[in-house]
Symmetry: C2
Amino acid sequence: MDIAARVMSVVRRTSTSEPSTSSDSNPQKVGKVMDVSDGAFIGGFIPYHSFVKNKVAAIVEKQRYPYTRPEFLYFSEEEITLSSDHTIRPVLCPRLPHRMPLYAGYAEVINAGKTIQNEDQASAKMLVLTQHQGAEMNGFSEEKKIESRSSNSAEIDDDPMLTPGGDESEKSTIFSLRADAALFSLFDGHAGSAVAVVASKCLHEHVKSRLCEVLDTLLHLDRQENLNFGKHRSESSYSMSKMNEEDEARIRSEHLVKGALETAFLDMDEQISQDKQVWRLPGGCAVISILVFLGKLYVANAGDCRAVMVTSDGTKALSKDLTPASERKRLQELAYRNPELIGNSFSRLEYSKKLTKKDLKSRVLYRDWFMDGWAVKTVKECDLRPPLISESSRKRRLLNTIGVSRGFGDHHLLTVDERLSIKPFLSAVPDITVTHLRDMNVLTDKDVVIVASDGLWDVLSNEDAGLIVRSTLGSTDSADSSRYTQAAQDLVAAARGQQASPNLKRWVLNSGGHASYDDITVFVIPLKYCAAPPADLEEEEDDEMLDLE
Amino acid sequence: MDIAARVMSVVRRTSTSEPSTSSDSNPQKVGKVMDVSDGAFIGGFIPYHSFVKNKVAAIVEKQRYPYTRPEFLYFSEEEITLSSDHTIRPVLCPRLPHRMPLYAGYAEVINAGKTIQNEDQASAKMLVLTQHQGAEMNGFSEEKKIESRSSNSAEIDDDPMLTPGGDESEKSTIFSLRADAALFSLFDGHAGSAVAVVASKCLHEHVKSRLCEVLDTLLHLDRQENLNFGKHRSESSYSMSKMNEEDEARIRSEHLVKGALETAFLDMDEQISQDKQVWRLPGGCAVISILVFLGKLYVANAGDCRAVMVTSDGTKALSKDLTPASERKRLQELAYRNPELIGNSFSRLEYSKKLTKKDLKSRVLYRDWFMDGWAVKTVKECDLRPPLISESSRKRRLLNTIGVSRGFGDHHLLTVDERLSIKPFLSAVPDITVTHLRDMNVLTDKDVVIVASDGLWDVLSNEDAGLIVRSTLGSTDSADSSRYTQAAQDLVAAARGQQASPNLKRWVLNSGGHASYDDITVFVIPLKYCAAPPADLEEEEDDEMLDLE
């Protein structure tokens, strides 16, 4: 993300038992800052009021997880260095594509020079979920009280996981308390790669932990839903609509998965907040996760990465971009309810045009936090302040600083001039969509989900990306496990384009338009293997590891 | 709405220059209250902190608008009294159905005895919009600065309304600065009918005033949009998707209409807040408005009334019910950000079951403000507090008090035991949908929008209501201007049902199920006349008025 030279992240290096809540009253306390345009860390005091009150926290001048590329690439240190060539921008793919979870394809390319490191990160994991997953799960079997609110159906509420010796024991044994899931995540870092790296190492553990917390109830509900599938079809039209309301209120297995993802995302952000007291963790990252579990595909998005489903029916976005532009109402409402967050430095309103002194007393269209529409007002002095969400030709920014509104990190991000804290406006809460793979028409091996950072979507439309993938998959052998990686490679290559001439450092699309100068990262996940995971995957694994060593 | 005996509205009758912000510290200041179960007003002091600070406001013991039924019914005082027979529950219709705006149908019936008055209200108005609409519009022609953000297209930004002497003058004369609109509104009152009555008398004036404020720009944009219609179709697939993004950001005429509705709803609530200082205005009301303007149908909803479109393609809800259940996340987030609003009296969380002391230390499913899903937690003492949104078999309530979360009024509504103010949770902001009538397939005279209070929707599904209307319209003459009122009448009669036996006061549906005991109010608006208003309507009007007198 291009927020270079605009973002200022200041990190406290020595302790103050009562940090000043006003940066203006103690300007000398605010020391040197990190300018992320060159990635150099200088360090300084932080006036951020909520930061480790009454606690001495010496910032260690190193990172818990040093810069790296995704594990599944199996790159050596040397290869990682070579991958960062901004002039050549090589498209990188996993060395062992058939070892990727669900044979998912992957490709990445570094930016055209705006940051030294590739600030995108990725992780792809098979999660083995078991009931007794560490200390947190002790006593979980005592949970006999979980009931769905609509308790008409006895079979839903009678959880056999909780009565293992009862008459349900036979059924219980059918379901082992182990389940497998696949998790793919993309992280698009800004103001450094540190937060994206930490998140790529840890998010799946938080998701796993949260899923295991509710695994018994989750598997029980999933079984009931599969048994009940189709049962409601025989009802009359009238009782059907009443039934739907009850169904709506009933807790289903997918709600527990959603809850696990939602809480895991907040856990991850909280971990970063804690880690920051010990490790060096400037900046933040947008994040998108795709969880494949029990015949459903969950897309949890907190930022401007995007997942797009491509089938013979066409393309369909499975996430919506969460940016200062799309989250205007949420951000404006926060400023409305907590005006101190913007002080006298910004105007909460959005205007139909950039206002100058000449516009005073004239009329302008505006919209406030509660409005989807526009209304008219007379321009006053306070309307001349820069707007909370700035206008910009390409990307709108929050508080004139940051181009995303969700994700992890950024705990100490301040605005350049006014030293206002930006974190209160940022959210780690994911927006989640669920796709029921079992309800879909017959899936072919050309049906995929494309997951990519904004480096791709800035220059390719969903439809363009779909066409490229279908074209690649149409010309590859269905037995070739590397074909989804080839598709990812073609996507990344298309968005990166070619150098107009070797010394010009100008990248152009095949069509001649501006190519992407950003980091570009892409997963291509085959839906067929999401619906029915390939059986041979695990057996192969060990042999391959030996080959690698 | 049945909130009798649960709602407590206390109204200040004498002034306190500095109202206490804590009800507990000055319990003697809190005087008698109004118990809305019998509609009797007793009056008392109000500890509501934001109420007319430093201002003496004597509450007049009478209402500005006394109880009545909608104007368009043309009922005498005597008829209004007769209409309130809870034992017979006559279905009431306009005396002159052909005088209804756009020949819309209407019918209503009083509740089965839960309140003395019919707390539903309605209004139906033709709005004649003109540019110079009172003092507010002075100087509006000076507004030369309104521009759409995406200013690529010169013809959009060059507003001929603002350059009347220029080369656009010829085109300008094509567009008179007068436009007609139709506005239908339903108000479902609670804790008395006063707020619903005031809103039914005033809302259309606020809407009219806000529309007139932007009329020139609005008409200009509408003309441009009609000229450009179809222009984009010739673009290529690639530039198409880019174009859509720009279109998305561009201010269109419908945005100005939406903005007018949004601000007018807040104006209305503000007026009630002001009127309350002088007039007796207990309680509040849910509201839904249907605005027909320039070939589009706007549904602005703030509450649990509902608009449903019925065409040969089936039924389609044009609004979603806004209730404590559907607005859980908004309400929980308010309590999260302002915990003082619920103090120690309520728990912000929603739980999968009603918790008692026995559940302490066991595990329960819950969800918080940021969650669509459910997660697990161990029950603590604070979880035993009543939840912010109570569970209930039929209707969930906010703070154990009110069954709606949006609408007008309720400025002084407090919870029964804890005397917490409920108004901060309530919102007068409408949710707005827009239906482009010109884009629809050929409309027939059986295509309508049903607008009704929850008294109807509590016992009829959207589909049931659609079938009833289509059946009535199928058996009436298309030249009969009363046919939409007949359809409304049939809907209301179906939802009210029949008395099981004359003395039992038990109302049953034809199917045998429980009928609605609530006030029931229904508009049936013919889409054909929304798309092309009947020309003879206005000419007829004067003659009819003479007939009536």
